[in-house]
Every structure is written in C-alpha cells, then in structure tokens.
Amino acid sequence: MAGATSDLKLLGVGPSPYVNRVQIALNLKSVNYEFLEEKLGSKSELLLKSNPVHKKIPALIHGDKPVCESLIIVQYIDEVWTSGPSILPSDTYDRALHRFWAAYIDDKFFPNVKELRTADGEEAKEAAVERIAEGMALLEDALAKCGKGKPFFGGDNIGYVDIAFGSHLGWLKAAEKLAGVTLFNKAKTPRLVAWADAFSSHEAVKDVIPETEKLVELAKMLKARAQSQSAN
C-alpha cells in the first residue's frame, strides 16, 4: 500500500479526460492521493513549477518529483505500484499493441471529436461525424483483437487502452448531445457499445468521469466565454 496521502498529489481539473486517466489508474491500484484542483483559466505556481515545459495538467507529484503527460503518468503508476492489477499487459507484443492504440486515440481519434464540437455548419459537422465513424470501426476491431473476445481492451479487466479511450467517454457523450448526432451505433459497433457501459460502471471509473449534462453545460459556458473574448 502506498505511503501517506501527502506523498502523492495530482494537479488537475475534474472535467479533463487526461486527468481522469490518472485518477482511474490510481483507483485501480487502490492508491490514496490528494487532488489539487486547478482553477479553470489560470495556472497555479505549483503547476508551473511541476510542468515548466508544457504548463499543462495533469501533473502527478510523487514525493517532490513531478511526472507529466497522462499516458506517461499511467505507465509510471503501473510500474511503481506493482501489487495492484496490471494496467499494461505482460506480453511484449501486446504491450506494443496497447501503446499503438492509445497513441492512435490521442493523435487521430480524439482530435476528430474536438472538431465535431467546434464544427461550423452542416457540411463540416457531417465530415467530422464521418471521420469519427471510421475511427470507431477501427476501434471496434481493435477491441476484438486486444481483448481477445473479452469485454475490455485489457481482457477481463480494464487496461491501458480502456483507460486511454474510456477517459474520453464523458466528452464523447457530450459531443453527441451538443451536435445532435449518434456516435455509438449499436448496429455498427456492438462491442464498443457494450464496452462503454461496462467501462463507465466499473468501480475505478464510476465516480471519476463527470456526468454528461455537466460537461454539456461546461462546453456551452466555454464557448460563450470564448465568443465574448473574441468580440472584445
């Protein structure tokens, strides 16, 4: 079991999927930590000191040593707390496969979802939905291959890709509401639909990802704020 709570601090904000990744990983390992909420729109001294290069959350501070970049933090957690369930698979090739899909989600899949949120006009929206659908088809396939027929990318339990992808579920559902589209199609991607339910209700996840309604409200507020700032 980890040391005192003061030994481990997580700098972040509740609605960030990247922060959620770290929270889920720590929950999986049953590790206590102190959550230091950053104020939206401003960066604390501690954050700037812990992540001078990118100045971004999440930053995990273990003892007095900072670890940055969400997927790197998740791997760090997996390597330090070895008595808990493994996040990355033990087989070397499977590890490479998981890292590949996590990178795909960050580099290709989620930028498309962001585009949907900010798309102007029907054509742009439809193009974004099309690209997301292509990505979902790839991930449906990846789930079968990585999970080898089991409910999660990690098999029987949630693993690296589950965390990388699942952390975005809140915002995915919010994007569906905001754009008035369906991204999770039971006919086209049945495995992913089942997976999304199983992931969201998992012990380590259910109290972490904010409710869709809250994220929808937040998105509207951020959009309004951005529009008023550009008008001034």
């Binding site: 390597e79 070397t92 590890r95």
Partner: protein, 206 residues
C-alpha cells in the same frame, strides 16, 4: 528520421534483420497490410507481426532483447522522464524543423526562432551530462540523434548555425556520431539537403 531510430536500436542490440526500402510515392502491399491505420514507415515486422510507430517499436526492441544495451533506465521515475523527453521531441522537433525548410521571409524568421527555442529546451535538459541518458547512450539520445543529419539542411535553408546557438548540443551530437552504430545508421547530410531542395522545388518555395 523515424526509421533511423530503429536502425540504431537494432544495431545496438546486435540484431540481424532484413531491410526493405519503401518508395513513399508508391507504397508496397506489405506496408499497407502491416500498417493499415497510418500507412507509414517505419514498420518492424517480427515473426510476421507488425509493430508500428518508432518510439513504440524502440520500446518493443528494448523489452524483447533485454539482455544487452538497455535503452530505458530501470528506475520508474527515470523511465517516466526518458519517455517525457522522447515525447517532447516527437511533439516538437519534426514540425519545427519542417517549418524551417519549407518557409521563407517572415515565416522563416518565426520558424527559426521556434526551432531554436526547442533546441535550447533540449540543451538545458542535457545540461553537463555526456548523454541525455547520463553516462551512456539511451532512449532519449536514440530518439533525438536522427534529427542531427537534417541540421545541415535546416541551417542551409535558414541561414543560421546550430553550433553558434547550441554548442553543447552539437558536442553531444558529435559524441553520438563517434558510435559506429549511430554513424552508419544516419543518412548523409548532403543527400538530405539535396532531397530538401527537391521538395522545395516541388512545393514552389524556391
């Protein structure tokens, strides 16, 4: 440069492999089959199974052939730091360098400024260590050194000298180039420059 990372990694581990040159304007069946998602090189094929994305493949090589020349340190915190800096290089170097060789005028001046800022951050991280990995050539050195053979092209297009701005980095690069596995894996800087000049013609920059 991403393929070069793998060539250095495989050489360091003393692994024999078959190298297949791709024509990126006419991608082979094998490449499209092995990397259907990104359709990019490099792809490492081990026992018929593909490993894509250079940093992922380097970690794979390190984990499979783990008896000699480890790239990543064994301490989890040091490993996280090494991954962070390899990630930083991936996020910043390629685009910053590309903007230098593919722009002119005011855009070029801005590109040079950004490029040198990235290099200075890396130089600060290197500090007085002989390698990013400390006493020995490691993960971050491997991730970064292939860009060195492109410096001549960047400098010629942008009319500046990396050594004048970041002497410690050039000293580090020279140190890496003393390793036979690195020197033989990097492309020839003159050939890279000629390739860039061709690209500039194609994109109508010159």
């Amino acid at each position: 440069m991403f393929g070069m990372r793998l060539r250095i990694a495989l050489a360091e581990k003393g692994i024999e492999y078959e190298y297949r040159e791709e024509d990126l304007r006419n991608k082979s069946e094998l490449l499209l089959k092995m990397n259907p998602v990104h359709k990019k090189i490099p792809v490492l094929i081990h026992n018929d199974k593909p490993v894509c994305e250079s940093i992922i493949a380097v970690q794979y090589i390190d984990e499979v052939w783990n008896k000699k020349a480890p790239f990543l340190p064994s301490d989890p915190y040091q490993r996280a730091q090494a991954r962070f800096w390899a990630d930083y290089i991936d996020k910043k170097m390629y685009d910053a360098g590309r903007r230098v060789w593919s722009s002119k005028g005011d855009e070029l001046e801005a590109a040079k400024k950004d490029f040198l800022e990235v290099l200075k951050v890396l130089e600060a991280e290197l500090g007085d260590k002989p390698y990013f990995g400390g006493e020995t050539f490691g993960f971050v050195d491997l991730a970064f050194i292939p860009f060195y053979c492109w410096f001549y092209a960047y400098e010629s297009c942008g009319n500046f000298s990396v050594e004048a701005e970041c002497p410690k980095l050039i000293a580090w690069a020279n140190r890496c180039m003393e390793k036979e596995n690195v020197a033989k894996s990097l492309a020839d800087k003159q050939k890279v420059y000629e390739f860039v000049l061709q690209l500039r013609k194609v994109f109508g920059i010159d």
